[in-house]
């Protein structure tokens, strides 16, 4: 990454001028803080004592038996609040505190980032406003209630596809107006510089732990690391420790909705092209005339037409293996791992499991780490409607 936040052609700061100084201040503060031992100590202590890290690396015995290769689950679902999102929310809140900001805003799709941000704000006594598409408010009601219970204000956004894209746009508009006292906690490795690299670094703990754990357990690097990709924060979090280990296949599983050959998917790495939205140049779904297309995925967290710039870059560098799983495949994956391992994954993560069940990317005795980005409690109403149980 260069000083203006470019990963190859991707990234940058495509924002209205009003936000530029805030991004510049954020970058400078963050760069200074991450070298400061007291900041790192404070962050690591929170991750240990409040979040419950390190999360385990669980050997999935029954899954492995069925697949013929060995699967380990990185258990981000066991974090406080139920997903990896808390790592970044706490990190950014500490940065906001050091910048003297008094108010926090965030966007959320599945609600996991909203819950994590509301949690961090409750812990530190900050005013918190969460933007969420009205469609997502409906399908993730449990998380909406959790955010409110934590003291956050949830603003339902009723424009366009009524999902993560519009929630992000509204959060940016709020920030444009209140930039002088507000910090915007972006939940993924998307948005203008420095967010993609900052969020990746706050999430990199996932990969650092997983690498240490697998080396201790098996004495060698894995052959593959698998993660679902919406914006890409859990993927970059677990991939970053392995990017330089070229023998490790990094598999990014996108949501292909009703299928990659339809227009109803959320797979910019598979089907998009470079474009500009929400502050960065990255792979994006848009028409020939430049209008952003609506994404579709059964999982609110993957339902976004763009993806992080660093993942876009890794794809172009051919460091990434890009795959996709449909809504249907994700549902099958969810039931499969629930009944074989007693782990009910979030619908987002279920895409990675669905992929794993079908894939021929791995051979006998390979070692594969799958990042379980979150737990499935929030998805019960969607699952009840879609999976019939006797």
């Amino acid at each position: 990454m260069n000083k203006n936040g470019h990963f190859g052609i991707f990234g940058g700061r495509y924002v209205p001028e009003t936000l530029f100084s805030a991004l510049d201040d954020l970058y400078k503060t963050y760069i200074k803080l991450k070298k400061t031992p007291s900041f790192r100590k404070e962050f690591n202590k929170l991750l240990k004592d409040y979040v419950g890290r390190p999360t385990p690396l669980t050997y999935a015995k029954r899954l492995s038996n069925e697949l013929g290769f060995e699967v380990y689950l990185k258990r981000e679902d066991l974090n406080h609040t139920g997903s990896h999102k808390i790592n970044n929310a706490l990190g950014q809140l500490l940065v906001a505190k050091h910048m003297g900001k008094s108010r926090i805003i965030a966007e959320t799709g599945a609600g996991q980032h909203g819950v994590a941000t509301a949690t961090a704000c409750a812990l530190f006594g900050y005013e918190c406003v969460i933007y969420m598409g009205s469609e997502d408010v409906k399908r993730q009601q449990l998380n909406v209630y959790r955010m409110k219970l934590l003291g956050a204000t949830v603003v339902s956004v009723d424009a366009g596809s009524k999902t993560l894209k519009e929630a992000t746009t509204e959060a940016i508009r709020d920030w444009l107006k209140n930039v002088e006292n507000t910090h915007y906690i972006i939940g993924s490795v998307v948005g203008p510089h420095p967010y993609p690299s900052m969020v990746r670094e706050f999430q990199s703990i996932i990969g650092v732990e997983a690498k240490k754990q697998i080396l201790k357990e098996r004495g060698r690097l894995p052959d593959g690391v698998v993660a679902c990709v919406g914006g890409g924060s859990n993927a970059m979090g677990v991939f970053s420790a392995f990017v330089k280990d070229v023998s490790v296949k990094l598999v990014a599983v996108e949501g292909s909705g009703l299928g990659l050959d339809t227009s109803e998917h959320a797979a910019p790495l598979s089907k998009g092209r470079p474009g500009i939205l929400h502050g960065a140049l990255s792979y994006l779904l848009y028409s020939d005339l430049g209008q952003i297309e609506l994404a579709h995925s059964i999982s609110a967290g993957l339902d976004y037409p763009g993806v992080g710039p660093e993942l876009s870059y890794l794809k172009d560098e051919e460091r990434l293996t890009v795959r996709a799983a449909t809504d249907e495949t994700a549902l099958i994956g969810c039931k499969w791992v629930s009944q074989l391992e007693g782990v009910i994954p979030a619908l987002e993560t279920s895409h990675a499991f669905g992929y794993l069940k079908e894939t021929k990317d791995f051979k006998r005795d390979d070692i594969v780490i799958l990042n379980v980005s979150g737990r499935g409690d929030k998805d019960m109403s969607t699952l009840q409607n879609r999976i019939e149980l006797d």
Binding site: N4, S21, L289, Q291
Partner: protein
Amino acid sequence: MAKNLLKNKNMIIPYFTLGDPSLEFTEKLIKGSFEAGADLIEIGIPFSDPVADGPVIQASHQRALAKDPEIGIEKGLEVVRRVKKEHDKPILFMVAANIVYAYGIKNFFKDCSLSGLDSCIIPDLCIEDAEEYLKYSKFFKVGIVFLVSHLTKENRLKKIVKNSSPFVYLISSTGITGERDSFANNLNEIVNNIKAIKDIPVCIGFGVREKKHVDFVHSVGDGAIVGSYFSELIKEQKSESEAISIIQRKIKSFKAIAIS
């Protein structure tokens, strides 16, 4: 490119969304506005996700896109070519970075040049990411107007002002386009800082809607950009001809007050 702009004071710059409600209307509206004394006109190319715009302009973009999903740069340039046959006043596009990117940066500036477009505002393009845009802007002689806010730091202001053409767009205060309670209190100082770098007109927009705003803006800078207010007015009228005539009356009154 518009060369004589420097001499103009108290400019009125209306913003109109292309194709809201139709291309024919936009063309008539532009011609009518020039006849009423508009100094420069900004044509907004509708975008699905106009991040910096408030609810009024956003709704206007959505109406235009709903009416004609194929609306965009090509159709905008057709309108520009027709207007330019009758009026030799500057016309600018307000266009999202992704629309320019999708069209191809080089092709965009080339085609704009061939159609006589004077300049463009790309509201989500910062000077740090503008290298390729500036290269073709200079080559094809179609300007880029950059935005400055009261939060823009001095070290960047110089580069922004030097590359902005034919004017600098000063954002009245933080926030999105449309109504607001107040303007930033140091606009005067920013205008002076800009003029110290380069003798260039400074036009002010975001929330300029009433006569008192226009007067204030003219007392501080060189031109007033009026967008959301005109969009509301147009939408409220019963017929297209009424919409054009009320915009003409408003432009005349804004100009008259500016002179008095």
